[in-house]
């Protein structure tokens, strides 16, 4: 399988929603498959909060892509037929311009001074990527969770540049509860004594405890009660494999382990930026009416929710479906079992994979 990873520079810069400006920026981009001659087979995959550009297959570090179950040769999104592109979002920590990058004007890492980015900024930067790749339009823009928000925003912001859109385990806006959860996570990062107002790189430290706690909380919200129950129950962790002597139950050990691992790879400022972008997104725009903001949409929608997802429950997808129907958009809304809670969008259950595949082909 051919994976192409490249860092693309955008010297023209970007005006951000916040009013700030990035005078230039870079996007880490991964692509799979070949663009056909008529340039009609390009697909953009948008990553969720903690994802990155590495979607499918094994990279040079032998890490498997985050959506490998769905994207690959002969999979639901078939790279033998489609040219699939994904970039690390602006503000990320996997190679694109973000808080860890050097600010050209100060010659130091941006740290806490990296400007706030929004879902719409990401979509605007992805549009610049589309132009740079010299592709006339995406045949499909797709994502789960925060990635689904980007897919929806694509259909609103660039109606003539996208034919079909896949919005999975997502919503047109974050709920009060979503924002509340994210704020607890951010608070744990900010209150880590190593955070230094976001400028921890200068102090040569990492607010690991903060990120870890944030991730542990996040992880609980990504899983379903039933899934956790089936997987861990009230089983005790055996003494030999405890990551911490305070741990009693398997579920504690699991969260500790996952939190630790995450804190080693993820950037604290990116955590704050990404969750802020998620909280701030509202597809309804200034009018506050989703019906109105979908007026110019021409893309077809495929909206998928999962019964076990309590973070972005299926009803949130239904709201998009209703607004789509009110605007005569060809839109389908499917709810699937998915045992993994919010994370269900990552896993290729038979029905899920088939529905995506058929929608792309239809």
């Amino acid at each position: 399988m051919k994976i192409k990873t490249e860092l693309i520079n955008f010297p023209e810069g970007l005006d951000l929603d916040s009013g700030d400006r990035l005078d230039s920026f870079e996007l880490m981009v991964e692509s799979y498959g070949e663009l056909n001659e008529s340039k009609t087979n390009a697909i953009l995959v948008c990553h969720a909060f903690s994802g990155n550009h590495h979607v499918s297959g094994e990279n040079s570090e032998r890490e498997t892509g985050w959506w490998d179950e769905i994207v690959g040769p002969n999979k639901a999104i078939d790279i033998n037929k489609y040219y699939v592109v994904c970039c690390n979002n602006l503000g990320g920590c996997s190679g694109s311009s973000g808080p860890k990058s050097i600010n050209p004007s100060t010659k130091k890492a941006y740290g806490g001074n990296f400007p706030l980015v929004s879902v719409s900024d990401w979509v605007n930067s992805q549009k610049m990527l589309l132009d740079k790749l010299d592709i006339p339009f995406w045949s499909f823009v797709v994502g789960g969770s925060l990635g689904g928000m980007q897919a929806l925003q694509w259909s609103i912001a660039y109606p003539d540049k996208v034919k079909k859109v896949g919005i999975f385990a997502a919503a047109a806006r974050s709920s009060t509860q979503n924002i509340a959860m994210n704020e607890v996570a951010r608070e744990s990062i900010r209150k880590d004594q190593n955070f230094h107002n976001g400028n921890y790189i200068e102090h040569d430290v990492i607010p690991k405890n903060g990120i870890k706690t944030a991730r542990m909380l996040g992880h609980i919200t990504y899983l379903s009660e039933r899934h956790m129950d089936l997987r861990f129950g009230r089983k005790f962790q055996d003494d030999n494999s405890k990551v911490d002597h305070e741990v009693d139950f398997e579920v504690e050990n699991y969260l500790q382990y996952k939190g630790d691992k995450f804190s080693e790879i993820f950037d604290a400022n990116t955590y704050i930026l990404m969750t802020k972008a998620m909280d701030g997104y509202d597809a309804a725009g200034v009018s506050g009416k989703l019906d109105r903001s979908l007026k110019k949409v021409t893309a077809q929608f495929l909206i998928i929710g999962f019964y076990s997802d309590w973070l972005y429950p299926p009803e949130r997808g239904k709201e998009i479906q209703i607004a789509a129907m009110n605007n005569n958009i060809k839109s389908s809304y499917v709810v699937l079992e998915g045992e993994h809670g919010h994370d269900s969008f990552l896993f290729a259950s038979d029905k899920y994979a088939k529905i995506i595949e058929k929608f792309i082909q239809s």
Partner: protein
């Protein structure tokens, strides 16, 4: 779906209209209407496999159990709603009828006729009817609210629903003379175009 039935429905659906089909199955009726009348159609279906077939045909579909409610679509301004061979499976058929007429001025309803003479013979012999149109035993069938043509028309009158047009199909699936003359006895299926009064 039987040819005759889809032909009748096709006649009633306005060209380029906005259509919702409750219990759309594999989406074949909507696909036909999309191709022949350039409608904008949405199906409502609960079966995942059938949903998958709809999507592969390019028929927009919504997963929803119509028994749990035909609601949430009032704002979409449909020209016509369709419920073919499903109303007898619902817990509250009259509520469903009224809801359908809330989201579109007209609706098409088709239903099997329990008054069909073969059903009556079955009943006369002391057994629940099992016919080619109603093939399941009483303990297996989804049809929990079977009725006769007469019963259905009485319900429409009681609910203030106007029967704008109706066609009765005989056992050959066609629009036979006898079925039109005495539908309650000779029609296997009633096909109705309903309107708010």
């Amino acid at each position: 779906m039987a040819k005759e039935l889809s032909k009748i429905i096709n006649k009633w659906v306005p060209a380029e209209g906005k259509v919702i089909d409750f219990g759309c199955g594999d989406g074949s009726l909507l696909k036909e209407l999309m191709d022949s009348k350039n409608i904008l159609g949405y199906g409502v279906e609960i079966n995942d496999h059938k949903i998958e077939v709809c999507i592969s045909k390019g028929v927009p579909v919504i997963k929803q159990d119509i028994d749990k409610g035909i609601n949430g679509f009032e704002s979409s301004n449909f020209d016509i709603s369709i419920m073919a061979r499903s109303i007898q499976c619902l817990k509250e058929p009259s509520l469903a009828l009224n809801r359908m007429l809330k989201l579109s001025n007209r609706c098409v309803v088709t239903l099997p006729n329990l008054g069909y003479w073969k059903c009556r013979i079955n009943l006369a012999s002391g057994k629940m009817p099992v016919t080619p149109e109603l093939p399941s035993s009483w303990y297996e069938t989804d049809n929990i609210h079977l009725c006769t043509i007469k019963d259905f028309e009485e319900l429409c009158m009681k609910e203030g629903i106007k029967i704008k047009d109706s066609v009765f199909l005989d056992s050959k699936g066609g629009n036979g003379k006898l079925a039109s003359l005495i539908p309650n006895l000779f029609a296997i299926e009633g096909v109705y175009l309903l309107e708010k009064q």
